[in-house]
Amino acid sequence: MHCEILWKILSLIVITSKEVRTFEVKIKVSIKIQIIPKNNPWSYIVKWGVSLVEIEIKKNNKEKYMQLDRVIERYKQQEGMLIRILQKAQEIFGHLPIEVQSYVSDRLDIPISTVNGVVSFYSLFSEEPQGKYTINVCMGTACYVKGSQEILKTIEEELHIREGETTLDKLFTIKVTRCIGACGLAPVITINEKVYGRLSPSDIPGILHTYIKTNKKAAIGEEVKA
């Protein structure tokens, strides 16, 4: 039974790697090993089982990796470009999963611990996938005394997620940022590049709705094209 599953997985890998090159297969397998002692302490019965947890097929990131290659090629010669390369990598992939980090570490020939150290140190790097729109709520002092906490609370309530989380439809991620320097317009939020200032909690639903609406329109547009 287990061998059958394994065999299927292997054949799937072979098929996908040979013919369907535009897909990447991620297979999660869990192996259970049970060690049961027999009557005497020096012999055991070992039982083991394999079960398939999930098969995830995603689009191949080959093009993205090629893009990353070009970035690395461009900055490789200069000293101290790790942060810049990671910034570009995040632009390409949207976030920095461990595979990308290990790829960068291989290509630059620096330990992955150093790469991960940098990624985990700076708040602009993210190891988790981000929503299409990142909402940054400014928590600088000026915004704080002007009630940015209320704004954050309203956004959290509207989207039913907490700060640092992403909505299930991968549309919004809420983040807290420290001062974007638009203190004259406090309280301020940014959604991707766009800045919204002089806000009150009652403005939030309207702003979020415009994004949901444009996204729906875009999705319908894509469907029509397809």
Binding site: V145, T177, C183
Partner: protein, 632 residues
């Protein structure tokens, strides 16, 4: 834009005189009557105004002018921050220096029709002085501007930051060209900087001339010039505005620094949160390279200097010198103990000169006008001016520049226009997370580096947050400690663990669970963290707690003993109550209360909230039709 390299000092002078005629209109030169161009419209393109659609206004102006065939007569330009962010988008019309506030897309037609065609002033867009109630047309008459003295911000709101020729026209790069032409000895430049008494504007206040001298004195086969534009202090945005409005002044100063200490490579470390500043800086560097002002053999001399941008990635500690250097090299931005100072061993262990954006912006003008001119501005120990970012509960939020020694009262009441909604002033917080809160009784102190340190605060990078009676000082202290704790890099124990413990005590107090002995523990802990932390972050992080403990101890005591928050901020200490007079006994509140904490009889006021049951969700406050329910 057609830019060709300049090879000599003479060529630069020529360009300067030919181009300065083109922008003389902005200085109010009326002799342009005979020329074709009669108006210059400058549209603020700083972050503040851009987020209120100033770009759209500018594009519409250009489009409409073209439509009306007025595009020869009227020219539209981008410009840097005017500082009056509260009333953005702002546009200025020259030669008569008219300043229009809150200009929307709908006003564009009117401006062209009435102002440009018929010379009529649009009263509804002018600034109205809250003091006198009069409309103020001329930019120089407005209260917000006339108490200021702009040195570092001299070109913001005057020139187009995306055109290097405009910077040259107002005298830019002439000091550098003169220096290269005359082969001025480095020692002479350092001497005049020392004589000017300019001190680092990033917060520390170290003498800039001395720093340069130190960097000059160390030998090295390679040296670096750094610019710290990692403006992490929440509530400070002067460096961003300078980079957005006048990037060339910083570039010129960095080239001069390179010439002076013998460096051929510079880096500007900018926060990635400032996309417009980064873009302007990129444009400026590119233009300077095209003009031969950056790169090999600058202006035909044998001096070469190159400049690169490094983007920060969101870590406050990188504002600290040694951490910044680590980050420029591409590593985790963790600070190192000093000495060795960067002047001796900085980037890649080479001598490195590091200054703040505002410091650099001051340098070309000091060298141009001479140290004696600069010495006459400011106080005995702090020379020149300082840019402050005014924000919080104040009427005119924005960016201001005043001579050192100006009183807090002048800044808050004359320039800032007083407290928002006529509320009572409580405190002003300077220096960001490293500074302290200054109470009302000290409004008359003349601000400079020393006076602020004397009252337990610091200059910092120049954020100034005004607070009124509705702000709880314990909560503000907690806010800053939360920030410091979050941004602590974790390298040294006093900072990473000490700030955590301070934060825990403060959280306890704001939740009404504090004890009186906590105050003593808090003070001791703060002093310990201050003394034993590795870098500036930890050494100054307790300042907001210490200064609020010093000046607002009664608020701490009210939280601990009376379990109340006098300002009505700390949620756990508030009660939701129904006003007996206002209540109409409609019963809505009782119906929506999720825990049935409200009882009362229909049409028989008042209703009552049972505090022991109430969970303070606030639903009743929102739903009450007569606003009879509030938090106290």
């Amino acid at each position: 834009m057609n830019l060709s390299p300049i090879k000599t000092y003479g060529a630069l002078k020529e360009l300067r005189s030919s181009f300065s005629n083109q922008i003389s209109i902005r200085a109010g030169d009326k002799s342009v009557e005979n020329e074709i161009t009669k108006y210059h419209i400058l549209v603020c393109s700083g972050t503040g105004c851009t987020s209120t659609e100033s770009n759209e206004v500018r594009k519409k102006l250009e489009k409409e002018l073209k439509k009306r065939n007025l595009d020869d007569k009227v020219k539209v330009f981008k410009t840097g921050c005017f500082g009056f962010c509260k009333l953005g988008p702002i546009i200025a019309i020259h030669p008569e220096h008219t300043l229009y506030c809150k200009v929307g897309l709908e006003n564009v037609d009117e401006i062209l029709e009435r102002h440009i065609k018929h010379g009529e002033i649009l009263k509804e867009l002018l600034y109205k002085s809250p003091k006198t109630g009069q409309y103020q047309r001329n930019i120089n008459d407005i209260d917000f501007f006339n108490s200021q003295r702009r040195i570092a911000l001299r070109n913001c709101g005057v020139i187009n930051p995306e055109d290097i020729r405009e910077y040259i026209a107002v005298g830019g790069y002439s000091v550098l060209a003169q220096m290269l032409n005359n082969k001025t000895p480095a020692q002479e430049i350092v001497e005049s900087l020392k004589k000017s008494g300019l001190r680092g504007r990033g917060g520390g206040g170290y003498l800039t001339g001395k720093k340069w001298e130190l960097a000059l004195s160390y030998e090295g086969d390679k040296k670096y010039v750094l610019c710290n534009a990692d403006e992490g202090d929440p509530g400070a945005f002067m460096d961003r505005s300078i980079l957005e409005g006048d990037p060339h002044s910083v570039i010129e100063a960095m080239i001069i620094a390179g010439y002076c200490i013998g460096a051929d490579q510079g880096y500007v470390y900018v926060r990635a949160e400032y996309p417009i500043a980064v873009e302007r800086l990129e444009i400026a560097i590119e233009q300077a390279k095209k003009m031969g002002l950056l790169g090999n053999n600058i202006l035909g001399s044998d001096f070469s200097f190159d400049l690169d941008i490094r983007l920060g990635a969101g870590a406050f500690v990188c504002g600290e010198e040694t951490a910044l250097i680590k980050s420029v090299m591409g590593f985790r931005g963790e600070p190192n103990p000093r000495p060795p100072f960067p002047a001796e061993a900085g980037l890649w262990e080479k001598p490195t000169l590091n200054n703040n954006v505002e410091t650099y912006a001051n340098i070309p003008i000091i060298l141009q006008k001479g140290a004696d001119w600069f010495v006459n501005i400011g106080t005995e120990k702090s020379k020149g001016t300082k840019v402050f970012a005014l924000a919080g509960q104040i009427n005119n939020t924005g960016l201001i520049e005043v001579p050192m020694g100006t009183s807090l009262r002048t800044i808050i009441y004359d320039i800032g226009g007083g407290i928002h909604d006529n509320k009572e002033f409580k405190a002003v917080q300077t220096g960001g997370p490293s500074g302290g809160c200054i109470p009302k009784s000290m409004l008359d102190i003349k601000i400079d580096f020393e006076s602020l340190a004397d009252v337990g605060s610091m200059m910092g990078s120049g954020g100034m947050i005004v607070m009124d009676e509705t702000d709880c000082m314990v909560d503000i202290a907690r806010f800053y400690l939360e920030f410091a704790q979050h941004e602590s890099c974790g390298k040294c124990v006093p900072c990473s663990i000490g700030t955590k413990r301070i934060l825990e005590i403060l959280e306890r107090i704001t939740k009404g669970k504090g004890k009186m002995e906590d105050l003593q523990i808090l003070e001791d802990l703060c002093l310990d963290v201050k003394d034993s932390s590795l870098c500036g972050l930890g050494q100054t992080a307790p300042n907001p707690v210490l200064s609020t403990l010093q000046y607002f101890k009664d608020e701490y005591i009210a939280h601990i003993k009376d379990k109340t928050c006098p300002a009505g901020v700390c949620n756990s200490l508030l009660k939701v109550v129904i006003s007996d007079e206002k209540c109409i006994a409609c019963g809505i509140c009782a119906r929506i209360c999720p825990v049935n904490a409200i009882t009362g009889e229909h049409k028989k006021p008042p209703f009552k909230i049972h505090q022991e049951v109430c969970i303070k969700c606030g639903n009743c406050i929102q739903k009450c039709p007569v606003d009879a329910i509030y938090k106290r």
